[in-house]
């Protein structure tokens, strides 16, 4: 029987603030899972800490709500041990790019076949609005006592330079588009990163929904707002690395990095970079352990009737006096 959207919802009360951008992301994840018809027990959501950390409780698949900044470590361990699982890791921008920045970079280098979504709102919401790593230098959101004194991290360019092989940006108020991006990210062979702009209605009074949709910029001729958000797929932009060639790779990486610098007046969403020519981690393990995919850690028999079936005699023979 086909799985419906409702099958991916839990009855756990959602205590996010009214109007929170997180709702759009949870809906998009549920829609993506339903669209791909991923069996519930074959899928797991791993989450970090903070408002976004609660995401795993709202989705009716395995849910692992981990620790602040550590979500990628737990998620990669599970995926490597059982490659049959479809794993989506989620967390806030403070979680992934502040306390978890080291894991973010290391994960890129590994290129484990899973998806990582950052809920990017430039503030630490659950702790009452402190500046997070994506808040711009000098900006002062409403609960900051003084303007932000740190330069911001650019999640897109950091992901590309860390080795993520699928890098995209979504907007939480464009749920259908976000769903499509999640489907593309999950289907991507390798580590996919999705930066989702997600206004925090309570603490970020700068990058609001109205700001993203350009309510402050009225076109004088049409008298309509000029949205800041636009889609890369509506332009000539081609994010895909098509062939294994250094010039091609460099061109696509550079183009994505430059594109990632756009902000303020026009903010791109969509796929910035996609490269399936870099070996996923699975392939790198197969090179060492040929039957890894058929017989991964999680599926191996280790005993029969309580007796260990691992035979270490050959090693013991080398130690024999």
């Amino acid at each position: 029987m086909a799985l419906k959207l409702g099958d991916f919802k839990t009855d756990v009360h959602n205590d996010w603030c009214p109007g929170c951008g997180d709702f759009g992301i949870v809906n998009a994840v549920q829609m993506a899972l339903a669209e791909m018809q991923i069996p519930r027990h074959k899928s797991a959501i791993f989450s970090g800490i903070g408002c976004s950390g609660k995401t795993s409780h709202f989705i009716n698949v395995f849910g692992v709500h981990t620790l602040h900044g550590r979500v990628l470590t737990f998620a990669q361990g599970a995926k490597i041990a059982n490659p049959e699982l479809e794993i989506i890791a989620v967390g806030g921008d403070g979680d992934g790019l502040g306390i978890g920045a080291g894991h973010f970079v290391a994960a890129g280098r590994r290129n484990v076949d899973m998806t990582y979504i950052i809920f990017d709102n430039a503030v630490y919401g659950l702790t009452k609005g402190q500046a997070s790593p994506t808040l711009k230098l000098g900006e002062q959101t409403k609960s900051l006592p003084t303007p932000n004194s740190n330069y911001n991290v650019n999640p897109i360019s950091l992901a590309i330079s860390s080795g993520f092989t699928f890098v995209a940006r979504g907007y939480s108020y464009d749920v259908r588009h976000l769903k499509d991006l999640i489907v593309a990210a999950v289907k991507h062979k390798g580590l996919a990163f999705l930066d989702v702009l997600q206004p925090c209605p309570t603490y970020n009074d700068i990058n609001t929904r109205d700001w993203f949709s350009g309510e402050d910029r009225i076109d004088e001729t049409t008298n309509k707002p000029m949205p800041r958000i636009y889609k890369l797929e509506d332009t000539e932009y081609d994010p895909v690395v098509h062939f294994n060639d250094e010039d091609e790779l460099n061109e696509k990486r550079t183009q994505a990095m430059v594109k990632s610098l756009e902000w303020d007046t026009k903010i791109p969403t969509g796929i910035f970079y996609k490269n399936e020519l870099i070996t996923p981690y699975t392939r790198r393990i197969i090179d060492k352990i040929p039957n890894y995919v058929e017989n991964p850690a999680a599926l191996q028999n280790i005993s029969r009737n309580g007796e260990s079936i691992t035979n270490i005699d050959k090693i013991l023979d080398t130690l024999k006096v």
Binding site: H41, V64, H65, R70, T73, I80, I289, A297, S308, I309
Partner: protein, 636 residues
């Protein structure tokens, strides 16, 4: 004829003292002797002083002694550091080219050490050169044998017509060990066999080393004829192995079915992970090959995080680290506790605090292992006494983790890690595999991961299991695993988890909790790797008619009060022996048994205890001549 001796080789890090010791150990183990070797080295890649002391005996031995019978030195530093340690009637084989070197010439000696040495030499009316040290040794009844190592290389290169050999100072190690084996008149074939096995992947290097070895051996037998230090060849006891310190936990993990290990490089823990990775493809009886996935992570936080993720898939998973790495794991440890995840953390302790003495021994982390992480949650802290024990203990640790669904911290240390010793063969089927309440299939649609049960342990699903969907969170949760701040649920969940302590104490067999090796009115209580030197010391005293008891506590948390109490009933004088400054075990004994040890024998120089040191202390205690706190200091 002798039946026991200690042999030592020293040299700069990178000069192959380990290879030389390996050859020596292999030769004597094949000659039917028990071997106990230990390696000391600096936190350094090349140049600082390292040494290897190998003790051999026709009796079972478990520790090192004070002093050495044979010292091989191809650098001045080895003489300065160890010549005074050579026992009466002992031998020093040294490179004659170093005779003139002065204390002040050796830059790698610490200033404090230089000062102490110069004062010592002055007190003996000596100057400050290698020659003075050797004179002093001679006056103490030590025979000194000068050999020009460079001269030997050059003679050998002429003999076999290989001019390249002349400058190959990295052959000094093989020359050194072969000079000594020549003096000891060991069978040459055993030396060649050892070299072949050590250089099995590099045939040409094996060949040149064999030539050098033969040359040095013949040179020594021809030149040093008037010394008889040989030991007779004996029957090798059946099922004997020669193992390195980390083999116990590594092989134990393979047999236990550990299929995932994540780690971050750290001394002295990395050897285990590297061994697992080198042997990652596993032979499985009547089945396709298995494998141990070893992942080197970006830090220890990721190391434990990944192993938790892997454990959630039902995989037996572990990480392996040392104190500084374990400090980083404290945060995740609490998550493991609240989520009832089976996980084994192998903790090879070294001297702290902070970076401390990164390559030296210590048992400083007992209380930290017990208390790491905020909040209250169940865990097991379990300590092995030696390599052989650690093999079986490792399998048990995985069983405990699965059965009680708790983190198990398996305490090892640098002393065990850098040991090379003979021991009995490991038997893979001695310990059964018990996965506890891990489920392989679930029919019911309303599975709850944290369902309340009589023993507090819930049937465990795993990621990927149909009908077994669960949630985990570091927050307090309800039976499904969803966040709950309800006060009634909180109490139920806390009690459910912490009830585990009772379960652990009631269900782990007594002889896996505490081992009573000897009984006596004077009784030693200890934990971990002090076992070896303590037993050897007690055996020495026994030979003199003095009986001392010895109780080794293996389960340190939860504390096995009920098992320990009756064992200490007849003990009049309780002696706590540990390698730390604050006698950490004693605080557990005081807290649980309301009894304070009468004496403490402690060592925190970063070097392991020798049996002689413990023997001396125990003897003083028995003769009522000891301080309440005996602090041991032997060893360079």
């Amino acid at each position: 004829m002798k039946n026991e001796l200690t042999w030592m080789i020293g040299g700069p890090q990178g000069s192959g003292v380990e290879t030389a010791a390996n050859i020596f150990s292999q030769v004597y183990s094949k000659m039917g002797y028990h071997v106990f070797g230990k390696r000391e080295y600096y936190s350094n890649i090349k140049g600082e002083h390292s040494y290897f002391a190998v003790r051999i005996s026709d009796k079972k031995i478990r520790s090192s002694v004070n002093g050495t019978n044979i010292l091989i030195a191809f650098d001045a530093e080895t003489i300065f550091r160890h010549a005074d340690d050579v026992l009466k009637d002992g031998i020093i084989i040294y490179d004659s080219d170093i005779e003139k070197a002065k204390v002040t010439d050796v830059f790698t000696l610490e200033n404090d050490f230089k000062q102490r040495l110069l004062e010592f030499l002055k007190s003996k009316n000596k100057q400050d050169s290698v020659r003075d040290m050797l004179e002093l040794a001679s006056e103490n009844g030590v025979q000194t044998f000068p050999v020009s190592f460079r001269g030997a290389l050059s003679d050998l290169s002429a003999q076999i017509d290989n001019p390249r050999l002349k400058g190959m100072v990295r052959m000094f190690n093989v020359l050194g060990v072969s000079f000594s084996l020549g003096i000891l008149k060991c069978p040459m074939v055993l030396i060649h066999n050892a070299i072949e096995s050590i250089f099995s992947r590099k045939k040409s290097i094996a060949e040149i080393n064999k030539q050098a070895s033969t040359f040095a051996y013949n040179y020594a037998t021809a030149k040093f004829t008037d010394i008889d230090y040989s030991l007779e060849t004996k029957q090798v006891e059946s099922n004997t192995m020669l193992v390195q310190g980390h083999y116990g936990t590594s092989l134990g993990k393979m047999v236990a079915g550990c299929r995932f290990q994540s780690y971050y490089p750290i001394t002295p823990a990395s050897d285990e992970s590297e061994f697992l990775e080198r042997n990652e493809i596993l032979e499985i009886n009547e089945d396709r090959p298995g494998s141990t996935l070893v992942v080197q992570t970006e830090d220890e936080i990721s190391a434990i995080g990944m192993s938790i993720g892997a454990s959630l898939t039902g995989t037996r998973s572990a990480t392996c680290t040392s104190g500084p790495g374990f400090s980083l794991m404290a945060e995740c440890l609490g998550w493991v506790g609240i989520n009832e995840v089976p996980l084994v953390i192998t903790l090879y302790q070294r001297s702290g605090p902070s970076t401390g003495l990164p390559t030296r021994h210590g048992q400083d982390d007992l209380l930290f292992a017990i208390n790491a992480g905020h909040g209250e949650f169940p865990r097991i802290v379990y300590a092995s006494g030696d390599v052989e024990e650690s093999f079986y203990d490792t399998i048990n640790c995985f069983n405990y983790a699965d059965v009680f669904q708790v983190p198990v911290i398996h305490m090892m240390d640098k002393f065990i890690a850098s040991t090379v010793t003979t021991c009995k063969k490991f038997y893979s089927n001695k310990i059964k595999i018990n996965r506890g309440k891990l489920l392989e299939n679930i029919e019911s649609p309303d599975y709850r991961r944290f369902a309340h049960t009589d023993d507090g342990v819930s049937p465990r699903s795993k990621l990927g299991l149909e009908n077994g969907i669960f949630w985990n969170t570091g927050d307090e949760s309800d039976t499904q695993g969803h966040i709950s701040e309800d006060p009634v649920n909180r109490v139920q969940m806390m009690d459910k988890r912490l009830q585990r302590f009772t379960q652990i104490l009631e269900n782990i067999p007594k002889d896996e909790q505490v081992l009573s090796h000897y009984t006596g009115e004077f009784c030693v209580v200890s934990w971990g790797s002090t076992k070896g030197p303590v037993i050897d010391a007690i055996e020495m005293l026994k030979n003199e008619g003095i009986n001392i008891g010895f109780i080794q506590i293996k389960l340190l948390h939860p504390f096995p009060k009920e098992v320990l109490e009756p064992l200490l009933k007849d003990c009049k004088i309780l002696i706590d022996i540990e390698s730390n400054q604050t006698a950490q075990l004693s605080s557990l004994i005081k807290q649980n048994l309301l009894r304070e040890p009468d004496y403490y024998v402690l060592k925190y120089t970063g070097r392991a205890m020798t049996c002689d040191e413990i023997y001396d202390s125990l003897k003083k205690i028995v003769n009522n001549k000891a301080e309440k706190r005996e602090v041991l200091t032997y060893g360079a």
